[in-house]
């Protein structure tokens, strides 16, 4: 049952990801990315991480992608220049990145079959697996609980958490400085 | 109808009292709408409920008659001259002495009011020397064809009085 759900949504997810990359229309790309996010939410639910699933939808699909659409609509970049003209020189880098990424994926998949603990991706329906890299070490039973996520985030991962927030704050400050109107009176 | 007197508030002394004044104003606004909700609606439920028409309402034209049944209109065409939208056409004719139509020497052989053109200004009524033309309270003038909006004399003429005209009242 779980495998069927996973297979269906994995297929949708991969298709959506492919369409996202291959679409020339930026708006369609954004919409397929949203679809992809929803598939991710389903995967999180399958892993028992309800909190992450809901946050995935609320933050990525509900907030960030809406802002992305906002930008796409404002800048009217629905039909941009063909990538050959703009990013032609980047093509070799793209091929290299794709090969490396495929190698990593293959390694992970291969490794998870070979060794018990070599996997960084949790196995489906494995009650002892975590809900992803962030929650590695937290049991699936607790992974869905907000309390557990909070406790892990604010104890073991406090330092990365704070560093991330400082980074985001710096980004916000930088953005406000850049767009600030320079007036003589202010 | 209860109208609320609007007073411009004094400028707030500080931010807090300003906020309090704003919230008070919002609450008063809510009070007004809630108050109206419990009042009787002013709507006239038209087909069942008839509107009260003012005595001076300018509605449909009517050509009046004397008590003896003779028409007041003498075919002078002053109404047609006064009409700013040229909605009235009058064709006068000699009043036959043996079978008088009006009380004067002449009468209106044709009297047409184009109700599509009429703007109900009432100048025709003011111009009429014999008080033959009146604008009545009838306001339901809608119809389906343009032709039917051109009122002939037969349409405009007030119905003949029920009682017989007395000879003693007859002129000449």
């Amino acid at each position: 049952m779980e495998f069927v759900v996973f297979a269906v949504f994995a297929a949708i997810s991969v298709t959506a990801a492919l369409f996202m990359v291959l679409q020339r229309n930026a708006m369609y790309s954004a919409l397929f990315l949203v679809l992809n996010f929803f598939c991710f939410a389903v995967f999180f639910i399958l892993l028992g991480a309800y909190f992450l699933a809901v946050v995935q939808v609320a933050v990525y699909a509900g907030a960030i992608m809406v802002l992305m659409l906002f930008v796409i609509m404002l800048l009217n970049v629905a039909y941009p220049e063909p990538p050959d003209k703009v990013l032609g020189f980047l093509r070799p880098f793209g091929v290299v990145t794709a090969v490396v990424f495929a190698a990593v994926l293959a390694g992970v998949g291969f490794g998870s079959k070979m060794g018990e603990n070599a996997s960084i991706l949790p196995r489906i329906s494995d009650p002892t697996s975590g809900a992803g890299i962030i929650l590695k070490g937290v049991g699936a039973a607790e992974a869905g609980h907000v309390q557990e996520v909070a406790a892990t985030l604010f104890s073991r991962y406090l330092f990365p958490f704070e560093v991330t927030s400082v980074l985001l704050l710096a980004a916000i400050l930088g953005a406000s400085v850049l767009v600030r109107k320079r007036t003589e009176h202010a | 109808m209860a109208f609320v007197e609007v007073k411009s508030p004094p400028p707030p002394a500080n931010a807090l009292s300003g906020a309090v004044a704003d919230v008070t104003a919002l609450a008063r606004g809510l009070g007004v709408t809630l108050g109206y909700m419990f009042q009787k609606p002013v709507t006239i439920q038209y087909p069942e409920e008839r509107p009260r028409i003012s005595a001076r309402h300018r509605g449909r034209h009517e050509l009046e008659r004397h008590d003896n049944g003779l028409e007041k209109c003498v075919g002078c065409e002053l109404c047609a001259l006064a009409c700013p939208s040229k909605a009235i056409f009058v064709e006068g004719a000699e009043n036959p002495p043996d079978a008088p139509v009006s009380i004067g020497e002449r009468y209106a052989k044709t009297y047409i009011v184009n109700m599509i053109r009429c703007i109900f200004c009432g100048f025709c009524v003011e111009a009429c020397p014999t008080e033959a033309l009146q604008l009545k309270k009838v306001f339901e003038l809608a119809d389906y064809t343009r032709e039917s909006m051109i009122y002939s004399k037969e349409t405009l003429l007030a119905p003949a009085p029920k009682r017989e005209a007395t000879d003693s009242w007859m002129p000449g």
Binding site: M27, L31, V54, A61, G62, V66, G144 | Y36, M37
Partner: protein
């Protein structure tokens, strides 16, 4: 039922649960749409009375058949897609607005868990631990419908309406979320049923926790009105400036789907505010005898109705805000107040002597 068709009891329990959930979902979706239909009539009636007129009273007794007439009219209206519009996105957008609105209600606990004829019965479709987050996540997805409608229509009015809608909803989501967090901190749970249950058992809805609960409640309601794009925050469809905003280029059934989404979202916001701040079925105790427990959903629906009346009342009273005033209200007034309020609430909950805050835990 053991052994029927060779299935064991546990399997039958699962099948029964699925069937029950499906029936409940069917009833809720249709109930919401029926409520939407009669909400339109109520709104027109109440607005009418507030403007010293009657509102619709011709179709059927007291105009009660008006929504049916409207529905028939909308269903048979020509469904126009502008030639320059993006056909698929134009078609999907109303669905993306309506579907999230309809599925939020699954987690709303309408009444206490009880037994009917000895069988356990629940007044919700799903009781999940992250119930509140589920509701907000789905609600935040609903804005796609507005944005995509604005973009796909290829009309400047619709585009401006869509942009306004997205900016407004994202801005007010923050204040709304922080206000709701106050209730969540007080309850110490994200499970909507638990939140209600704690308010009922403590006998005091969170809106009456002075002053923090009340402040959070007011902010939540204001942000909720903005979230649903209702007057006086209906910038997205400001008819004076934008034609009809994001749904300018819509007609017929697709337009009515936006209409439904707006009203169902109002019901959702009302239900969530009832759960978070008005204590759900408070003052009916959760563990009362059966027939009194049965009053729980009625109390809940009465509270929702009060909120719906408030929505109409606000629309009848206040003029629309200017867009920059709307943004500054959200970012410079509601958000800081909600943030400070949440901080103080958390401090009180955390520092209450020896952690004996009687209401959380």
């Amino acid at each position: 039922m053991d052994g029927l068709f060779g299935l064991d009891g546990a399997t039958w329990d699962i099948i029964l649960a699925v069937i029950t959930a499906l029936i409940k979902a069917f009833v809720i979706v249709n109930g919401l749409l029926l409520a939407f239909a009669y909400m339109t009539l109520t709104e027109r009636k109440v607005l009418g009375r507030m403007q010293a007129r009657f509102g619709p009273n011709r179709v059927g007794p007291f105009g009660l058949l008006q929504p049916i007439a409207d529905g028939i009219k909308l269903a048979f209206k020509e469904d126009v897609t502008p030639r320059q519009a993006n056909f698929w996105v134009h078609m999907v957008a109303p669905m993306m607005a309506l579907i999230p609105a309809l599925i939020i209600f699954a987690v709303i606990p309408l009444g206490p868990e009880m037994r009917i004829l000895g069988q356990p019965w629940t007044w919700y479709v799903a009781k999940i631990n992250v119930g509140y987050l589920y509701a907000t996540a789905i609600a935040s997805v609903g804005v796609y419908g507005l944005v995509l409608a604005g973009w796909a229509s290829n009309s400047k009015y619709a585009l401006l309406g869509g942009l306004r809608a997205s900016a407004q909803v994202i801005s007010y989501e923050l204040a709304q979320g922080l206000a709701a967090m106050t209730a969540l901190v007080l309850a110490g749970s994200l499970n909507l049923y638990e939140i209600v249950n704690q308010q009922v058992s403590s006998g005091l809805p969170y809106a009456l926790y002075l002053p923090f609960g009340l402040i959070a409640f007011v902010i939540y309601v204001i942000a909720g009105v903005a979230e649903t794009n209702r007057s006086p925050f209906d910038m997205a469809e400001a008819e004076g400036e934008l034609g009809a905003g994001f749904h300018t280029e819509y007609s017929g059934f697709k337009w009515s789907m936006f209409f439904m989404a707006e009203y169902v979202n109002m019901i959702n916001i009302s239900a969530l505010a009832t759960v978070l701040f008005l204590g759900g079925w408070w003052p009916i105790p959760t563990d009362a005898p059966g027939f009194i427990q049965g009053l729980g959903p009625i109390v809940f629906l009465i509270k929702i109705g009060a909120f719906m009346f408030m929505f109409i009342w606000l629309r009848a009273t206040f003029p629309r805000l200017r867009f920059d005033r709307l943004m500054s209200l959200g970012w410079k007034v509601l958000l800081p107040i909600a943030l400070v309020n949440l901080l103080l609430t958390s401090a009180v909950v955390a520092l209450w002597p020896l952690g004996v805050w009687p209401f959380a835990q």
